[in-house]
């Protein structure tokens, strides 16, 4: 991805349901970072839920339809070539819909039928490119741009970058990844590492960056989720991390919730803090913690950030 490319400076923005609820801090910090960097986000008009992980379990084609409606509005009604989704679930579902509509006739037929009945244009694969917030930062200002803008260096802050499941799996829905130098890797993703390293953070070697947090069963199988999250927290602390950086609202709230649950139910206390990468990037660029929604996190990182002179 070419950092000098301007095609991502003016994009459709699909926040999704989580960013209006438990992931509100991710929405705030994404918008604040965009504003600070002079990048324009146009919220998709009258968007709907992408179907998350749940609608797929009722019927995969319904999830494809729901995601296609978002892309159809962004492309056909707003005229955008790119839609940016910071939530891994939304990002994954839009990518999956793009793949299925191009490769699965039944999926395309169901989407066409439902779009016609719902009264909007059917999304045609290829009309729009879906990108993640990480692609957005990498593809606009890039690492050099971050280095130029750092006001509060993250120097000395040890960060474990956690990408979760939906950002890289299954790889066939991300045809632009694994394309060698400059592209993202599905086995060892590094865009968040690159971005935060450019802000001078010390990136620790974190072997569980694409392990699962059990987000699908946060409430329906809490014991499994707590065990999986505890693995992630323990591994981050063993790597020496002060902070786990996240790029997905489901992972983020899963880590926060089950950090509390592990303490209450299993008596296992961990102290590693959990922050969205956009919050860390915003802090590095001198944005006030309140504007980044840091007080909205359950994981209370303010004492640590104050101690490091970042807040």
């Amino acid at each position: 991805m070419d950092g000098a490319d301007d095609k991502y400076r003016d994009v459709a923005y699909y926040p999704g349901c989580a960013l209006e609820g438990t992931g509100h801090a991710y929405d705030r910090s994404t918008r604040a970072v965009g504003k600070e960097l002079g990048l324009r986000l146009h919220e998709v008009d009258n968007w709907n839920c992408c179907g998350a992980m749940e609608v797929k379990n009722i019927d995969p084609h319904l999830q494809t339809y729901l995601s296609s409606r978002v892309m159809s509005i962004a492309a056909n009604e707003m005229g955008h070539k790119t839609v940016m989704a910071p939530c891994n679930g939304c990002y994954h579902n839009l990518k999956k819909a793009e793949y299925d509509l191009a490769n699965d006739k039944q999926s395309a037929a169901v989407t066409e039928r439902l779009s016609a009945k719902a009264g909007h244009e059917t999304y045609a694969p290829g009309q729009i490119e879906t990108i993640h917030a990480l692609d957005w930062i990498k593809g606009t200002i890039g690492e050099d741009g971050i280095r130029e803008r750092v006001k509060n260096s993250l120097s000395g802050l040890k960060i474990a970058n956690y990408y979760g499941c939906m950002y890289t799996r299954p790889r066939h829905i991300f045809p632009e990844k694994d394309k060698g130098a400059g592209s993202e890797s599905t086995s060892n993703p590094h865009f968040m590492d690159d971005i935060l390293a450019a802000a001078d953070a010390e990136i620790v070697d974190y072997p569980l960056k694409t392990a699962c947090c059990g987000g699908a069963h946060t409430l329906s199988d809490s014991d499994t989720s707590t065990r999986l999250v505890l693995n992630l927290l323990d591994a981050a602390e063993a790597s020496g991390a002060d902070v786990i950086a996240t790029e997905c609202p489901t992972c983020h709230s899963g880590l926060e919730m089950h950090q509390v649950r592990a303490e209450k139910v299993l008596g296992k206390k961990t102290t590693v803090k959990i922050l969205y990468f956009t919050q860390l990037l915003g802090l590095a660029m001198g944005v006030k913690p309140r504007k980044l929604g840091i007080h909205e996190n359950i994981s209370d990182s303010l004492p640590l950030l104050k101690q490091r002179g970042l807040a």
Partner: protein
Amino acid sequence: MPIHEKNLIRPENIVSHESLEIDGIDVSGHWSTFITSRVVTDYNEELEEEISALPGGEHIHRCWQCGSCTNACTVNALNPDFNPRFWIYLVRVGMESELLRDKDIIWQCVSCNKCTAACPRDVNPEGVMKSLSHWLELKGHTPKSPSMHFDEAFAKQVFETGRIEEGRIIRDFFGRTGQPLLQDWLVEMVRRLVWRLPTKLMMRMGLSAIMRPRTRNWGKAQAAITEYAAEREVHHREALGLDRDRQAAE
């Protein structure tokens, strides 16, 4: 990591005798361990077809039993009995009763897609796990799993309004599964959060709980989705032969 194998010898069929003499030789204790012979005859020859007919199970026939799915599996690392390769094998040979021995854990798949990423034959094992859970519930072998309750609570809201409000889903889910909303850890989580939040944000959160977020002019999409979902439900029941007896009676 090794490939986790699962053998077909049931623990209750491994028998040791405390005192046993054969041909004048004392073979008491471990020396006398025998495996009770068993001949499987109760095959369900339609099992693979039934699983294939449900969403996610379409490509089960492609499996060549390499075990990459089980090796990559997040849940298998927590519970060795959670074995997607083995279940796919049982479905393909029609060993329904053997599959039913694991009926209470199959729904615990966390959809991390590690299996799907590892599978060299594009079987989509994650989808097969969903298909199996769905099949178990439709056939009445298991009650609705907590996961299915959550999916239904979630999908209901999306279908009705186009969007979700998390608080409403949590309340609906706890209601469906008969759990109290005031669980220790949830209370603790809210307590840790609330004292830091400004009143403005609290008001916004309260407001979204009362005024449901919704997509405008969603009615036609809702009707189209509801109609399609109902058609699929009929299709699934037919594929599993669930209403055959009733239809024959009519």
